[in-house]
Amino acid sequence: MSGAKEIRTKIKSIQNTQKITKAMEMVAASKMRKAQDRMAANRPYARKMRSVIGHIASANVEYHHPYLTPRPDVKRVGYIVVSTDRGLCGGLNTNAFKAAVASMKTWSEQGVEIDVCTIGKKSAQFFGRIGSNIVAQVADLGDSPELAKLIGTIKVMLDAYDEGKLDRLYIVENEFVNTMTQTPSVTQLLPAEPDVDEKLQHHWDYIYEPDSKTVIDHTMTRYIESLVYQSVVENVACEMAARMLAMKSASDNAGDLINELQMVYNKARQAAITQEISEIVAGAAAV
């Protein structure tokens, strides 16, 4: 019965791993549902915000905000990279980083410098390792991210844009298509390209209190914050979906492995029995 005991131990340990991956799969599934609800809760605000910005863009405003005015020459661009805090979620982060690096490469080939702002531990680790210029970072947002925790990092990037240090600002995020699919995307945040409302054409302006600059500045900041917040919330849903899938395939693989080992174990056991019988028979014949 050589090796039978080892095989049994191995099966046992794989079974334990399978239990863990199954549990993680179920946890991720329930968290994903909550994350999707949060995504839905954020949608009305994002929609309203977009329409307000659209109104500002279509009004005949006295003050044109820098966030709405494209800058012709680009010297330095900023990237906000949204990632997860924890691993074991398949290729989610890797795909997003690939998209980010590809986009960064096209800029750096034109001699443009790049600043990175990381959200989530994984992107901080990755961009730290490749030696990017990380100007701000935030991590440990948890499963229900709060807008308040993001304000600081966003402000660092917006301030840099205000001062003219950055000429473009991008956000790298995962889009939640469905449970099976999450696609990474690189979206331009600044200068913003609002949806102009054709019905409200250029012959009116708001009354501003206290004045147009203060109010529009304030609104634009909130607009960018809401976009980043939305990406972060969406990324949580992506993370949970990706983890659920990864853990499901891990459980399946563990099942396959156990079946194979069980087969090997049975064969070993059978071989041992056969050998024993033949020994006995041979012994009896000799007598």
Binding site: R38, A41, N42, P44, Y45, A46, K48, M49, S51, V52, H55, I56, A59, C117, T118, A124, Q125, G128, R129, I130, G131, S132, N133, I134, V135, A136, Q137, V138, A139, E146, L147, A148, I151, G152, T153, K155, V156, D159, A160, E163, K165, W204, D205, Y206, I207, Y208, E209, P210, T214, V215, I216, H218, T219, R222, E225, S226, Y229
Partner: protein, 137 residues
């Protein structure tokens, strides 16, 4: 009486959406009351009560918002509420914290980080910060 659409939303939830006859809010420069057909207006609002007068109910609906933006279009009033109290100093502190975090990843023990590169970035980040401080003064 004429009514108009009122939407009160925050980044984390939709607070109120419906028809109203009148909306009252404490804008930055004083209390405002918005009736249907109001001229386009945009203002920041202070943390406090927003009252919505609807046709169905005799009493005004009272909603607390922690500051935000009030936008008036002739047939729709939108209040984009903040999720928490926001003060410039706190924002500044948060920005500082985000930079410190980048700095702290240096002190972290994960040996995978290219220390010399991060050190250079750090110098630049602190230089930027000093400039921001100067510009703020």
């Amino acid at each position: 009486m004429a009514t108009f659409q009122v939407d009160i939303v925050s980044a984390e939830a939709e607070i109120y959406s419906g028809e109203a006859e009148m909306v009252f809010a404490s804008a930055e420069m004083g209390e405002v009351g918005i009736a249907p057909g109001h001229t386009p207006l945009m203002t920041r609002i202070k943390p406090g009560e927003v009252r919505v007068r609807t046709a169905e109910q005799s009493e005004d609906l009272s909603i607390y918002v922690s500051g935000g933006i009030l936008e008036v279009q002739p047939y729709v009033v939108t209040i984009l509420s903040d999720t928490a109290l926001r003060v410039d100093e706190i924002d500044e502190a948060a920005a500082q914290k985000a930079k410190d975090e980048a700095e702290a990843s240096l002190a972290g023990k994960s040996g995978e980080i290219d220390y010399s590169a991060v050190q250079a970035q750090l110098a630049e980040a602190s230089a930027q910060l000093q400039l921001i401080k100067k510009l703020r003064k």
